[in-house]
């Protein structure tokens, strides 16, 4: 992190579903080139925060800025330009079921770059090699296992080498071997391409392997209870909910 350039700024964000407040007055910054992890228990608003960060949900009040542009307030063209620089892997992978794996990955490439057809094929092949899915070009998503779908989704998210990569629970539902492979991949992408990565997860292995900074959300406070280096938070936080989160999980890990 040579420069502390802020790629994402969340300012006083309030998110509501109907009258129910999910996130109350959240402010955070994501710096260029870091691996930023959002964690917290189920129902604490992690995914809601992610949705606001990529413009899928409009804040009730406050704003989300990507590269200094308010994504809720800007015009459609600007928003599209910003979104082209973003890759996202959804929890359910969200591959298009009517297209093969190769077509899914080729979609953003053909749509947003002027690459000739056979170069696109080659790129798809390289992306698949990156996520270790070579040979599955012509498979339909319904023919893949959960882990393979995740990796294909990751390949699609990486299709245009985005500046910012969002991962929504990338290791949920995967076995430990594949999980650690995905973690390694995240670190590789971050180091080699300098991609800023935002991960939503509650997988402690992922957090301690990849995170350069974390924020922890809490369901009752509807806000941030801890922010900073994961190991320091684990060892020194005085907040009971944070201590419980790490203690509970590490107890299980000790078994």
């Amino acid at each position: 992190m040579e420069t502390k350039e802020k790629v994402i700024q969340v300012k006083n964000l309030i998110a509501k579903y109907g009258d129910e407040v999910i996130l109350n007055n959240i402010s955070l910054d994501v710096f260029a080139g870091e691996v930023f992890v959002i964690l917290g228990g189920s129902g604490c608003g992690k995914s809601t925060l992610l949705k606001h960060m990529v413009g899928l949900a409009v804040p009730s009040s406050g704003s989300v800025l990507i590269d200094g542009v308010d994504i809720a307030g800007c015009d459609t063209k600007t928003l599209h330009d910003i979104l082209k620089g973003i890759g996202i892997l959804f929890q359910s992978s969200a591959l298009l079921g009517s297209m093969t794996v190769a077509e899914n990955i080729a979609l953003p490439i053909t749509e947003y770059s002027l690459m000739p057809k056979n170069s696109v094929d080659m790129l798809v092949k390289m992306k698949l090699r990156l996520v270790e899915l070579d040979g599955f070009e012509n498979y339909l998503p319904s023919q893949l296992s959960g882990g393979m779908k995740k990796r294909a989704g990751l390949a699609r998210a990486l299709a245009l080498n985005p500046k910012i990569l969002f991962l929504d629970e990338p290791t949920a539902g995967l076995d430990p071997v594949i999980s650690s492979e995905i973690d390694d991949l995240v670190i590789q992408i971050n180091r080699k391409l300098g991609t800023t990565i935002v991960i939503v997860t509650h997988d402690l292995d992922t957090i301690f392997t990849v995170a350069s900074r974390i924020v922890m959300l809490d369901k009752n406070k509807k806000g941030i209870v801890a922010e900073g280096d994961p190991k320091i938070i684990r060892d020194h936080s005085s907040d009971p909910s944070v201590r419980q989160f790490f203690k509970r999980n590490s107890k299980i890990a000790d078994l």
Binding site: G97, S98, A102, Y112, S113, L114, M115, P116, N118, S119, D121, M122, L123, V124, K125, M126, K127, E137, N138, L140, P141, S142, L160, N161, K192, L193
Partner: protein, 381 residues
Amino acid sequence: MKKLAPNRSAYYKISGNGEGFFTVHYQGKLDVRASATIIKELIPEIDSLALTSLTADIDDVSYIDDFGLILLVELKKAVKKKNGSFRIIDTRKIAESILSIKESDIDMPSDTAKPKRTYGVVVRFGETVIKNASNFKILVSFIGSVLFSFYHILRHPGSLRVDDTILCMEKTGANAVPIVALISFLLGLVISFMSSLQLQQFGANIYVASLVAIAMVSELGPIMTAIVVAGRSGSAFAAEIGTMKISEEIDALFVMGFDPTLFLAIPRIVASVIVVPLLTVFSNIFAIAGGLVVGVFILDLTISSYISQTIKVLTLFEVVWGMSKSVIFAILISWVGCLRGFQTRGGADAVGNAATSAVVSGIFLIILFDSMFAVGRSYWR
């Protein structure tokens, strides 16, 4: 020769020594945006040069990713096509460090994606036969499963899911009344108007009433209602059950010990059997009302003479005949709708196909059975 690409993060420059040795010198970021544009411009230019050797110099490149690599691959292909030699200058090993790619990787064949295999006529014919045979198997077993479930319901009437049935009756029946009424009213209007053009020539105005009544009650009423229900509810059954199927909800029901047919199909079939004949009654009444409007305003018939003529021609047999047909149609529509739902496999498009197929098969079955009834009736009399 020098070329600068404006408004771009990367630049390149071609220089030649006049003996067929050329160098492409890159600067800046070889990323998505730059590489695609450079490929479009540079490859035709290379093709037009008389070259024997090309060197790509990426020493001044600040960033290169796989899109940049593709640029080099395309360049190499273009040079090889002219039997030239290709070399990359990368003293800082930037490509290697970023991509863990060595120069040898640039030899990747371009036709990497295998074309989808195509099969001959025999194989495809066989495939279709096998597919249809297995569909037929599912069809027969679904008939069996529905019959068993009905037998079960007859022995244990309490096992019918009454709440679901009533909800389904509302969706299939009550909510369909306005559209069925409107369509039937207009249909009655059209039939009486068209027939009046002919019948008026003989002064047989009053028979317009008979024609509308008989045509609607014994044929068109049941058919029109069934077609509307197939379009509204048959497709909905298929889509609902199909979505449940692909999201494993039906597997969940099965493992919890529920019979999916009893749980999902029977309430829909029972609801349809109850409401479709009622809708048919509405359809008949509104069509006769439509005919009445034309009769009164165009043919100068009185309301009472129109109604008494209608009552005179409608025998109990005609009414029962029409109602029985609509019961059969109701069974066919709901059965095929549920069947298509249970047959769904795959993703979102499969649900769409199931809904389409439910409507098409539903309407086909309605017409098929209606013609069978018509033939049967003519022999019976």
